[in-house]
Symmetry: C2
């Protein structure tokens, strides 16, 4: 069975207690208003259009970084495909996303489809 995947959200990981300050800075810097996710206070979301790159702020315990998500309609099939390319599984997060590490060292996540137009321009993997 085939599955599909594509570049998903760009996640700005922010360590520290002052998440309001992180929201203020990144809203101003990127010209996109970040506001608290009503469903989860660890996130700040935006109202960017479906055809724009999605952005999110995440309150984290690990070091500050930027990471990318890959959105897919089959996370386990995508994990196997990405592992075959050389990445390694770091952790299956309780929230449902799969944390991977690229052979070049960056961490990224496999997530369920995020944008309403999925599959849109996602690639199909036989």
């Amino acid at each position: 069975m085939s599955h599909r995947s594509r570049l998903g959200t760009l996640v700005i990981d922010c360590k520290g207690d002052d998440f309001a300050e992180a929201m203020r800075f990144w809203s101003g810097a990127l010209g996109t208003e970040f506001y608290p996710d009503p469903d989860d206070p660890r996130y700040a979301v935006t109202d960017r259009a479906a055809d724009e790159q999605h952005l999110i702020l995440q309150k984290v315990q690990h070091d500050n970084r930027v990471h990318l998500d890959i959105e897919t309609d089959n996370k386990e099939a995508e994990r196997m495909r990405i592992e075959a390319l050389g990445a390694t599984l770091v952790e299956r997060h309780p929230k449902g996303f799969v944390i991977m590490q690229a052979p070049t060292g960056q961490r990224f996540c496999l997530v369920d489809p995020q944008r309403g137009d999925f599959p849109g321009d996602a690639r199909e993997h036989p």
Copy 2:
């Protein structure tokens, strides 16, 4: 005089000598072919459409990371605007971009307009 800025390219910084391997992995993972920039072997570029999020691989000496660019028609005015928001100047790179550090710790770059449709949806700063 006003200037404009918006989110630019997402840059995947790859340390190490095997840049061909980095190109191979990220091409497969993101379903977007990265190929060597004919003008500069430290970069690998893609042919993503003007209305898609632009991506680039950069061969670096520092640790692997992902960073974002802010494209602007006035880097010095944008630097001052971003500093007023709380970021600090790290370095003016000889290649022309300005490396900044967010109050939340992530590094990002101010660069000249990258996509042909600039200013497009860029925000104007009086």
